[in-house]
């Protein structure tokens, strides 16, 4: 007992006081951590709404010095890039995730899992260099294709691990029931396991999409940017994040106004994907 007293040392009053202090400090830390979030949201709302108008969604950027113009091409460009990323990133990711969940207990499975984890920590800018060397140098031009591929590489490990985790949550009894009816394993996996896990996997994919939609660094030297409409996947394409960057570091008032408007649109998109994913998860858990 004396040991315990020594360990926890001091009079009860001091100990309780210390406890209160630490509790206060931890609650304070939580408050401090959230200050930037609210500040960002405040600035986005005030400045973003001030910069937002119909032209923003319908017009092309105007040259420096001219008022007005919009980011219609960047909005479409971002959708294109994210679409390409989904096309290149989701099917391999889901299939790799199925492999890990179903057959991934061996050495190869461990290697894949490990590589996926390592890949998810690789800075996105180095993925930009990778795709630059792989695609842009070989095709000799910046392109929507290269940008989409860079984003897909970022998505791949997240989609893989999410699919694996969610498939593992599906009760084995479901599979056993299917196998017991004479259904081959592959059909049991696709039609029973994958379908049961699908809402959760969709949620994970939504979060991955939300993340790549805001990525800027890997697009700088893959999709590059474009002041006009891009007419094909083999041309450079504008995107909201890159446009925000270009406008934010420029010295022009008018461009700053549009950068805020674009940021509001982008964050609106990203946060609603996040919140939607959350709501879906909660809904699924409750039912």
């Amino acid at each position: 007992m004396t040991e315990v007293v020594e360990r926890f040392g001091g009079s009860v009053r001091v100990r309780v006081l210390k406890d209160r202090l630490v509790r206060g400090a931890c609650a304070g830390a939580a408050l401090v951590a959230l200050v930037p979030l609210f500040s960002v949201l405040y600035y986005l709302t005030v400045r973003g709404l001030a910069g937002l108008d119909a032209a923003f969604f319908t017009e092309l950027p105007k040259p420096v010095g001219e008022e007005g113009g919009g980011m219609a091409n960047a909005i479409v460009g971002s959708l294109q890039l994210v679409g390409l990323a989904c096309l290149f990133g989701i099917p391999p990711g889901v299939l790799a995730g199925i492999y890990l969940a179903e057959f991934g207990n061996g050495a190869f499975g461990r290697v894949v899992r490990f590589c996926a984890d390592v890949m998810s920590g690789v800075p996105s800018i180095t993925i930009g260099i990778f795709v630059y060397a792989l695609v842009v140098l070989r095709t000799k031009q910046f392109s929507a294709f290269a940008g989409g591929l860079a984003l897909a590489v970022i998505m791949l490990p997240t989609v893989t691990r999410t699919t694996e985790e969610l498939l593992k949550l599906v009760p084995e009894a479901l599979r056993e029931a299917a196998l017991g009816l004479g259904v081959p394993k592959w059909r049991a996996t696709l039609r029973i396991m994958l379908r049961t896990a699908a809402p959760g996997i969709a949620t994970g994919i939504m979060l991955a999409v939300a993340r790549v939609a805001g990525e800027t660094a890997p697009l700088l030297f893959t999709a590059f940017g474009n002041r006009f409409w891009s007419r094909g996947l083999d041309e450079p394409v504008a995107s909201l994040p890159v446009q925000i960057y270009t406008y934010a570091v420029s010295p022009y008032e008018e461009w700053h106004r549009q950068a805020w408007a674009a940021a509001l649109v982008l964050v609106g998109l990203v946060l609603s994907l996040n919140i939607l994913a959350r709501v879906l998860v909660r809904h699924r858990v409750r039912t």
Binding site: V40, V118, K185, W186, A210, G214
Partner: protein, 327 residues
């Protein structure tokens, strides 16, 4: 249900017709190999990444060798390239970010896992995760118009007044520099560190806490004596994951750190990071050697973050294995 199915081969061999059995076997084999091929793409991509980056930086590796990481010269005109100012900028800004973020993140994690009332836990955890969802470029934009002016007019003058005897807080301050870069990084890595720490604390068995509480420990004493020691290596892992994120973070810090390849002891002075110099100069680099030097900086960044991630995952896994074994 008398005999649970042990392996896929059992029901297949009992399947009613030969046709069904044959189809099942071929289908299963195809399925297995197909998914394995896609699983291999993950490994291949990572290896290709390493290979392409070594290829892209080969000119620079051959030209400068080990000199590259200790040289302070960065002169595209004379084609002298040394990465030291960028390595310095990356390391110092990331350490600053950790110094600011670690106490706050641990506070958040402890509050969320040990102290917060139930109704507050999920909404608060969600808000902290939203911090991670805001794109980097938006933090940069916010930094330019909100954070940098605040640092210039409020924080930096205060630091100069009270701690100005230290060399870190001397010299002119414009709001763009190492300190502002470190602060924005701290904001961005806080969600990473706090959510991983929270997961780590959560695996510490409830019985450990109950034992300490039963001995009359206060909440804080319980955390300090029964929770943190068990979770320690996982918490270290969380910090390393945060460090990995800080090292590779690009847009926000590029927009705030000032982008000047100099090594200055003052935290008010502009600096440059490895990721920033790539973001800023890669598309301008027209000479092959210049491009290779930038690619080599990318390669260094890649190697460092891979190593850190490996280390961090091992540490987090260790706690999870321990926690699993103790329950």
């Amino acid at each position: 249900m008398a005999q649970p199915v042990q392996s896929p081969s059992v029901p297949v061999s009992r399947a009613p017709s030969k046709r069904a059995r044959g189809e099942g076997n071929v289908g299963d084999a195809v399925f297995r190999w197909l998914t394995a091929a896609f699983a291999a793409t993950v490994v291949v991509t990572l290896l290709a990444m390493a290979a392409e980056m070594v290829g892209a930086s080969w000119l620079s590796i051959r030209e400068f060798g080990a000199e590259f990481i200790v040289s302070r010269d960065w002169n595209p005109v004379t084609e002298e390239f040394g990465a030291l100012p960028f390595i310095y900028g990356t390391v110092v800004s990331s350490l600053l970010a950790l110094a600011i973020s670690v106490p706050i993140s641990f506070g958040v994690a402890i509050f969320l896992s040990e102290m917060a009332p139930d109704w507050l836990r999920n909404p608060l955890g969600f808000l902290v995760e939203l911090l991670a969802a805001v794109p980097s470029v938006v933090y940069g934009l916010w930094g330019i118009f909100a954070l940098a002016p605040w640092m210039r007019d409020t924080v930096e003058p205060a630091l100069r007044e009270h701690l100005g005897f230290l060399p870190f807080f001397q010299g002119p301050n414009q709001g763009y520099g190492m300190l502002t870069g470190g602060v924005v990084l701290a904001i961005m890595i806080t969600p990473t560190i706090s959510s991983v720490s929270r997961e780590v604390l959560r695996v510490v068995p409830r019985t450990f806490r109950e034992a300490a509480l039963g001995l009359g420990a206060t909440r804080w004493e319980t955390i300090a004596t029964a929770v943190i020691p068990v979770a320690r290596s996982g918490l270290v892992g969380a910090v390393i994951l945060g460090l990995g994120r800080a090292l590779g973070e690009t847009m926000a810090i590029t927009m705030l750190i000032g982008n000047r390849p100099e090594i200055d002891v003052s935290l008010f002075a502009p600096a440059y990071t490895m990721a920033s110099v790539i973001a800023n100069e890669f598309t301008e680099a027209t000479e092959d050697l210049y491009l290779a030097a930038l690619a080599e900086i990318g390669l260094l960044l890649f190697l460092v973050t891979v190593l850190l991630n490996v280390l961090a995952r091992l540490l987090v896994w260790r706690v999870q294995a321990q926690g699993g074994a103790a329950t």
